[in-house]
Amino acid sequence: MERFIQVLVDGWATGSLYGALAVAVVLIYRATGIVNFAQGELAMFSTFIAWGLMQAGLPLGLAIAGTLGLSFLGGMLIERLVIRPVEGGEVLTLVIVTLGLYVLVNSLAGWIWGFGNRAFPSVFGDGSFHVAGAAVAVESVGIVAVLIALVLGLYAVFQRTKVGLAMRAVSFNPDSSRLVGISVGRTLMIGWGIAALVGALAGALIAPRLFLDVNFMGGVLIYSFAAATLGGFDSPFGAVLGGWIVGIAENLAGTYVDFIGSDLKILVPLAVILVVLLFRPTGLFGSPEVARA
C-alpha cells in the first residue's frame, strides 16, 4: 500500500512535468496551428542557461527567474525570425522547419556545453514527509503546486487581460483580428514567448529528476505530446490532466507490469497517442476540427 501511494504521488509529479511542457505545446498550437517539435529542445536550452547563470554565481531562484525572462525574449525572437516566414504554410513545411529547429538547438547546446551530463539542484530541496506510511518528496508536492499555479495564472492572463483577449482573438480568426486593430504579428510573438517561458519552467523542474544533458528533453517531449493529445491539443487544462493521467499510467505500468519494466515505459505514451487519435481524435477536452471540403 505504501508503495502504491508512493508510485501514485511520483507519477502525479512526473505527470505534472509532462503537463507543463504539454501546456507550452498547446499554447502554440492554439495560437498558430503549429505543433512545435522543438519545444522540448528550447526548454533544454533554457535549462542550460539557468545552469550557466548558476555557474556564474547566481543563486538558484534568481538564475531560474532570469532564465524565464530570457526564454520569453528568445521565444519571441524565434517566432519572428524562424517561424514567421512559413506561418500559415503547409503542414509538411511547418513540421520540417520545427524539426530543423529541434536539431539545430540540440546541436548548438552540444557545441556550447558539450554532451556530458551534470546534476541540477531542485528548488524544493530533497526533503520528504510521510503520508499513510509512504515517504512523499517535498519536490513532488511542489511540482504539482507549481503546475496548478501556472495553469491558473495562464487562465487569468487569457481571460482577464487585454493581451490574453488579443491572443484568443488571433487564434480564432487572424484576419478579423487584424481588421479590429490587433497587431497579429506581435500577439503571436508574445504567444511564442509565453510558451518558451512555460517550457523553461518545465525544464528547470524536470532537470533535477533526470540529469541535465542535451538530450534530456527528448524523451519528455513524447510524453508531453501524449499528454497534449489526450487532453485534446487545444486545451491547456486538458494538457495538464492528460499529463497527470500519462504520468500515473506510466509509473503504474512501469512498476506493476513486469513486461514493461523501466525500459519499455517509452511505449506507454506511444500507445496513448495511438489509441486517442484512432478512437477519440479530439481527446478529452479538444474542440473538433471542422474542415470545409
Binding site: 505543433v35 517539435f37 524562424v82 516566414p85 512559413v86 500559415g88 504554410g89 503547409e90 503542414v91 509538411l92 513545411t93 513540421v95 520540417i96 522547419v97 524539426l99 530543423g100 529547429l101 529541434y102 536539431v103 539545430l104 538547438v105 540540440n106 546541436s107 548548438l108 552540444g110 557545441w111 554532451f115 527528448g218 524523451g219 513524447i222 505530446f225 501524449a226 493529445t229 525500459d263 519499455l264 517509452i266 511505449l267 505514451p269 506511444l270 497517442i273 495511438l274 487519435l277 484512432l278 481524435p281 471540403a293
Partner: protein, 346 residues
Amino acid sequence: MTSKRLRLAAWGVVLVLAIVLPFFFNAYRVGQFTQAMALGIAVLGLNLLVGYSGQISLGHGAFFALGAYTSAIAIVDLDVPYLLALPLAGAVCAVAGFLLGLPALRLRGLYLALVTLGVAIATPQVIKRAEGLTGGTQGMTVDKVTAPAWSGLADDQWLYFVTLAVTALMFVLAAFLVRGRVGRALVAIRDNEIAARTMGVDLARFKTGTFAASAMYAGVGGALFTLPLGFLAPESFPLALSFAFLAAIVVGGLATIAGALFGALFIEFVPVYAADVDEALAGVIYGGVLILFMYLLPGGVMGLIRKIASMKPRPRGSDDAQAGAVRRLGDRAAGGGAARERVRSQ
C-alpha cells in the same frame, strides 16, 4: 537534345562514375560510398512516402533498423546467405510498413508525424529489450562479406558492386512506379484527396501500399548499410537518423528520384567531415539546412538543377510531380490551385 535524352545521358554518366569509383579510393572510402548507396535506398523510400504521397513519417529510422536486424539475424542465426537476407529484410519491413500504414489512414499530417516520431524514439529501447534476438546493448557482429575468387575484386569492392546493383534496381523500380499510373494516383492524393477519390483512386489501397513500399526500401537500405560495418547496436539507430533521412529528402528535393542520391551523399559525408571541427557541427548543419532549404530552395538540389536546365520555357501542364510538391510547399492557401491544374493536365 530533348530533356528526356538529357536525363538519360545524365544517368549514364552517374552510372559510369559509380562503376569506376571503387578503383580510385581506398577500402575505407569505398565502404563509405557503399553506405551512402544504402542510405540512398532508404532516402528514396522516404521520398516515395513524403514527397509523392504526402504522408509524413519521422520514423523511418525504425524501418531501417528493422531491416538491418532482420538481415543480421537471418545471416548469423539462420545461416541465410546475405543475398537472400536482403529480400527477406525487405519483405519483413513491407509487412511492418503496411501495419503502420493502417492507423496512418486515419491520421493526417501532424498527427501522423507525432505517431511516427514516437515509433522512432521507442526504437532503440525496443531493440535493447529484445535481447535474445538482437544481443541487446552488446550489439551483433555479422561476418564480413567476402568476394568470390572469380571476380578478382577486393572484398570491399565486391560489396560495393553488389550494393550498386541493388541500388540501381531499386531506383529503376521507383522511377517506373512514379512515372506510371501509381505515381499519378499518389500525387493526386497528395494534392487533393477529395478530387483524387472522385477520379476513382482507391485511397486506402494506395496509402497503405506506399507505406509498405517505403518501409521495404528503408529495410533493404538498412540491411545493406550494416554489411560493410559488420556490426550493429541499438545506438546505430538513434532518433537523429530519422531526422537525417528527412534532411536528405529536403536537400535532394521532394518528389524526385535522383534527389535521393544527393541527399544520401549529404548525410553520409557531412558528419564525416563535420566531426573534424566539432562533434555537434553535423547537427547544426542538418538543422540549419532543414530550415534554410524550406525558405530559399524548397525544391532542393534537384529543383535547382531543373531550374537551370529548363531556362527555355516549358509547355504548360507538363507532368511534373516535383513542381507540384514545391508549389504546394510555397502555397499558403492549402494548394487547391495546384491540385486543379494537376487534374486538368492529366
